[in-house]
């Protein structure tokens, strides 16, 4: 049964197609990295050897430098396993291309290979890329938008529900959440749409929306009881989604509005 759950997750998440999402489960962990992750100590040793011997021409990050090619995207360096391809190149040099020979012991060659693999994997593992500074907006304009055009203040208050919000979430998370705070596993105060279902008989059921599609609707009422209904023309379904205003606002935001509101929200500590 676990397999089935994982598969339905994959179904929903897999449409990025060429861009597998971070959440896609794969035996062994990170879906993007299918080769052995090098030992961290070897990478550290290899970096020192590389910077000292190779950095001048290939750059200290191995992305290419003064005359030496990029080794992060180098087919030979990618083909390498523990120095088996770069070792002979180091030993013999590339006389035709101005690269001298380097007579390094095998363990140092392997350390360089470990460093290059770590550089390659850092480029490959896009889900681990660091997001740079996102707080670039105008705080005052953000406050104006919050209380004016954005109408955020009709539901939120900087001294009420948003007091200390910048302590709960970092700026990157806040940027995403201010646009649309979709329910997440670690939510402090989860938000659930509410629903009222009224069958032809007239007795209405209200509660937290559990399920809704074109054919069925289900809710859990205040006493915790679960109710489900087949939808037809005689069944009235009224959904109150507290996030509906966020969805509406998505069509109106400019990038400046978004950056300004974020600059304001990060002050709510």
């Amino acid at each position: 049964m676990k397999t089935l759950v994982a598969l339905s997750l994959l179904t929903a998440a897999s449409l990025a197609a060429q861009s597998p999402p971070a959440a896609a489960p794969r035996p062994g962990g990170n879906m993007l990295i299918s080769r052995t992750v090098p030992d961290a100590a070897a990478v550290e040793r290899g970096q020192k050897i590389f910077v000292g011997n190779c950095g001048f021409c290939h750059g200290t990050t191995a992305q290419g430098g003064d005359g030496g090619p990029d080794l992060v995207r180098s087919p030979l360096a990618l083909d390498d396993e523990r120095g088996d391809k770069i070792g002979p190149v180091l030993e013999q040099g590339r006389p035709g291309r101005g690269m001298p020979a380097f007579h390094l012991p095998a363990d140092q060659v392997q350390d360089i290979a470990a460093f290059l693999r770590s550089r390659q994997q850092a480029a490959i593992d896009r889900n681990a890329y660091s997001i740079l500074n996102v707080v670039t907006g105008d705080r005052e304009k953000g406050r104006e938008y919050f209380n004016g055009a954005g109408r955020c203040h009709t539901c939120h208050s900087p001294t009420g529900d948003l007091a200390g919000i910048a302590k709960k979430y970092d700026a990157v998370a806040l940027q995403s959440r201010l646009l649309y705070p979709r329910p997440r596993a670690n939510d402090v105060q989860p938000v659930h749409p509410q629903v009222t279902v009224t069958p032809a008989s007239g007795q209405a059921f209200s509660g937290s929306l559990e399920y809704l599609d074109d054919f069925n609707v289900a809710l859990r009422d205040a006493s915790g009881d679960y109710h489900s209904f087949s939808r037809d023309a005689h069944l009235k379904v009224e959904v109150h989604d507290p996030l509906a205003a966020h969805a509406e606002l998505l069509k109106k935001y400019t990038d400046a509005d978004m950056h300004n509101v974020l600059a304001y929200l990060v002050t709510l500590k």
């Binding site: 994959l10 929903a12 897999s14 060429q18 299918s34 480029a123 646009l179 599609d213 074109d214 966020h246």
Partner: protein
């Protein structure tokens, strides 16, 4: 003449009960579904009408087959559209292939490949030539199996997994050409399409999706290094016009994916619809759906061939609902644009250039502090198959109105890999029926939740089969979007639905997660 040659080759490879008559590749699919899209057109329209709008309420489950991977593991949902040939269904998952009885869903054989790695995101299925089946693996092997028993005949490597390629498409067979594509945009490798020999797997030709130094198109890149690391993957099967002898393909996004500063220019022939001669791999024409893309919007979606009318004259057309949110109609004889119109509300385009290609707004490229972009990275549409119904004249697509934040994470002169990240914000999904003559949306069925695109089939029974994002398999009236039938499956449908007729019964087959379902009429 071409057909005679193909038939001779078939005799040479040994006829059997499991052999495909190549003439069937040139006909609309009825008792046979011999290629990824059912036929070469990519319309995913079946002339079958046994199941139709007057009796579809009596459609019921005939069988189901839950994948048995033997000693292996399942790493993807069913994305493969099964082939159906002589009463047998053939389909694949990464590293796995199956044959099941098309009447009962009973497993006939299972084949497992010992993997050397690669991203195991999906496998779109088989191509077939005579008695031989062909599929691609995440570690980039083209494998030929005997349709009779699933035994391996040979395997050849078509790309190097160590360079971060992985392969997902279903090979397309045109005469004696096995056309194979590759994928992988983790580390800026160049894309290509190849034709392989059906008997040996040897290379017949290779077409590079980016130019090399001095070649045409090089002027759209800043330097040779950028184009040789420029991406442009070939991961969705294309379509074919036998009269024009042109193979149509949508190419993937350029690399580095989100950081465009090291590849200034239009970056041909990435994010393009191209026409190639399948005998030589020579480019006949191109149309670029997203010049200088920085949003991962592959233009790989199926180029659907429509024999239609424009201004009262019969025309050979090609239509694509592209990942970037535009619906394009081209003249497929020469690639000239006839129509470019968004099928969702998008926010990244400043209009069209003289060739009908969208002009990207530089303000909507990824930025260090985040840019808010519609559609999201997964796009308004994606690889799941759209459908064109010649009887309604409508093109159907499950369209995602989606929102993402795009971040530039590498602001240097020479970024590598993605050079950026995205963060999905919100989406809604809707089934849309588009008039190919105007781009107007004739009807829309809004779902009450978001998600990515979902595959579609239409039939002469005046039916449209697709899934919703809540796990239902649903039949609509293609004329107006009225719901006629539904069943809740184990998960969202994950491949394109297909259909065939055997012994006077019509079956509709669809995959959801790890289960393949066969439906037919109650008897």
């Amino acid at each position: 003449m071409r057909l005679k040659l193909a038939t001779l080759a078939l005799v040479g490879s040994g006829l059997s009960a499991q052999s495909l008559d190549p003439a069937l590749l040139l006909k609309p699919p009825t008792d046979t579904w011999p290629t990824y899209n059912g036929d070469y057109s990519g319309r995913r329209f079946s002339p079958l009408a046994h199941i139709n709008s007057s009796n579809v309420t009596a459609m019921t489950l005939a069988w189901e087959y839950r994948l048995d991977p033997g000693t292996g593991t399942l790493t993807s949902s069913i994305k493969s559209t099964p082939l159906e040939v002589n009463g047998v269904l053939y389909f694949t998952l990464p590293d796995h292939a199956w044959a099941v009885d098309a009447r009962t869903g009973r497993q006939i054989w299972h084949y497992q490949w010992e993997s050397h790695g690669g991203i195991h995101i999906g496998s779109r299925g088989f191509g077939m030539y005579g008695s031989w089946l062909y599929f691609e693996t995440p570690d980039n092997y083209l494998i030929s199996l005997n349709a009779k028993d699933g035994t391996e005949r040979w395997h050849v490597e078509i790309a190097d997994v160590k360079q971060e390629y992985f392969s997902t498409p279903a090979p397309i067979v045109i005469r004696n050409h096995i056309i194979v594509g590759v994928g992988g945009d983790s580390l800026d490798v160049p894309g290509y399409l190849e034709s392989r020999d059906p008997e040996t797997g040897q290379l017949q030709w290779r077409w590079n999706t980016t130019p090399r130094k001095g070649e045409a198109g090089a002027e759209t890149w800043p330097n040779p290094e950028a184009m040789e690391h420029g991406g442009g993957m070939t991961w969705v099967p294309g379509t074919y016009d036998p009269e024009l002898n042109l193979y149509y393909l949508g190419t993937g996004n350029p690399n580095p994916v989100m950081a465009g500063q090291g590849r200034k220019g239009d970056n041909l022939w990435t994010c393009s619809i191209v026409a190639l001669n399948p005998d030589t791999g020579k480019l006949a024409w191109y149309f670029q759906a997203s010049p200088h893309d920085t949003h991962d919007w592959d233009a790989a979606e199926t180029p659907v061939l429509i024999d239609g009318q424009v201004d009262g004259r019969p025309r050979k057309l090609l239509a694509q609902s592209s990942r970037n949110g535009y619906f394009f109609v081209l003249d497929r004889t020469n690639g000239k644009n006839i129509l470019s119109k968004p099928f969702i509300e998008l926010n990244w385009s400043k209009g069209l250039d003289a060739k009908g290609q969208p002009i990207g707004n530089p303000d909507k490229e990824p930025k260090a502090d985040g840019t808010f972009v519609i559609p999201a990275l997964g796009g308004a549409a994606n690889w799941p198959s759209p459908s064109f119904d010649p009887e309604t004249g409508l093109f159907y697509v499950n369209a995602s109105s989606s929102y993402s934040l795009y971040y530039l994470t590498d602001t240097g002169d020479k970024p590598e890999g993605y050079g950026g990240r995205d963060s999905g914000v919100y989406s809604t999904l809707a089934l849309k029926a588009i008039d190919y003559r105007t781009g107007q949306i004739r009807w829309t069925h809004e779902y009450n939740r978001g998600g990515g695109s979902i595959g579609i089939l239409t039939t002469a029974g005046k039916l449209l089969f697709t899934g919703d994002p809540s796990g239902n398999f649903v039949v609509y009236d293609p004329a107006n979007g009225k719901i006629l039938w539904h069943a809740h499956l184990i998960g969202n449908i994950s491949n394109g639905p297909m259909t065939y007729e055997l012994d006077g019964r019509q079956y509709v087959v669809v995959g959801a997660g790890d289960t393949l379902y066969g439906f037919t009429l109650l008897q």
